[in-house]
Subunit: 199 residues, 2 copies
């Protein structure tokens, strides 16, 4: 064995001891509250990646899409035939398209009822509240209402919330928070959004 | 209409003008090079979300998993029967498990050949090079080799690279870069990785 290999093995053994120790220290098991926030690409995409993952094990999944839902959406199409997936959609389009606060609020409240039902169902392993943060920011949904529904959900249920500008108290409640930071976005350089990639 | 509604409509109209202008300005169409990096959760997950999305439109997708591939993986299971998806796996496990630099390099080179084939195939719409950044960092793969394969790939092909500590020159080449920043991770608070959520 060369010196380089020996050094590599030694440093990897040290890393293994560290990793094994950390894995052993993680003993609590329950559903998680995860938030994907920030201004970069990948928040909704990571949520759908998790949906695909959970469906892969045969778990039941509920997805509630706030704001979006009018656009074509490849991931919804791909998974639509899965009996374990339920998708509820606000389907109003973006607020700058509707330009009507009252109808936005009514649509939000309607789809929120679907979310509440999923959050109360012990058979649902994963609930995605996609773009929910904007509902809080615009005042279409009370934080207290959300907090209550999250707090009393089944212990094994994981919830993912996505969207920019996540509410401070939501971040404080969360078990895992990732901020997707935009370093560069093709759209800003004049590149069109691509079918099957961006939507 | 109340004052609040009127103000809302006015500000949304302004936003719409801004958004429409930006959409109109994005005129270039080609495959993108996207990098999901950073120390937070969601890099591989966002890549798989994009895979699901592309498959939803019937595009062909190639995924090359560096490092990982021994673990159970719900998303691979869920999409495995899809004739449009090809997955190549290094399947060595983590470097701190193998502790053998020579066999790691050989495994990397083997799976890289699969990647090169996908990157040369105009029928493949999306190629994911999952955890590739570590191969560059450890010196298992030359940056020049990667750069060449990326540069001569078909114009319509999008490539996603994931992993921490992305190479500076790779970031410079990329059209879209998101840094997944860890704000909080459940694992650090003693919560176990969850089946169907974390893997």
């Amino acid at each position: 064995m060369t010196d380089r290999n020996a050094r590599h093995q030694q440093s990897m053994q040290k890393l293994k001891t560290h990793v094994d120790g950390r894995v052993a220290a993680a003993t609590e098991q329950r559903g998680l509250l995860m938030v994907f926030t920030g201004n970069g690409k990948g928040k909704t995409t990571a949520a759908w990646g998790t949906v695909t993952r959970a469906l892969g094990y045969g778990y039941r999944v509920g997805v509630v899409q706030f704001i979006k839902g009018l656009w074509e959406c490849g991931e919804r199409e791909r998974l639509a035939e899965d009996a374990n997936l339920e998708v509820a959609v606000m389907a109003t389009g973006f607020t700058w398209e509707t330009q009507n606060r009252d109808s936005d609020i009514a649509a939000c409240q309607n789809v929120w009822r679907e979310a509440e039902r999923m959050l109360a169902d012990p058979g649902v392993y994963l609930v995605v509240l996609d773009e929910l943060t904007y509902m809080l920011k615009f005042g279409y949904l009370d934080f207290a209402t959300l907090e209550q529904a999250l707090a009393k959900r089944p212990a094994e249920q994981t919830v993912i919330v996505t969207g920019r500008n996540a509410h401070r108290d939501l971040l404080a409640m969360a078990d895992t928070v990732t901020e997707m930071q935009e370093i560069r976005h093709a759209f800003n350089d004049g590149l069109q959004a691509r079918r099957g990639i961006d939507y």
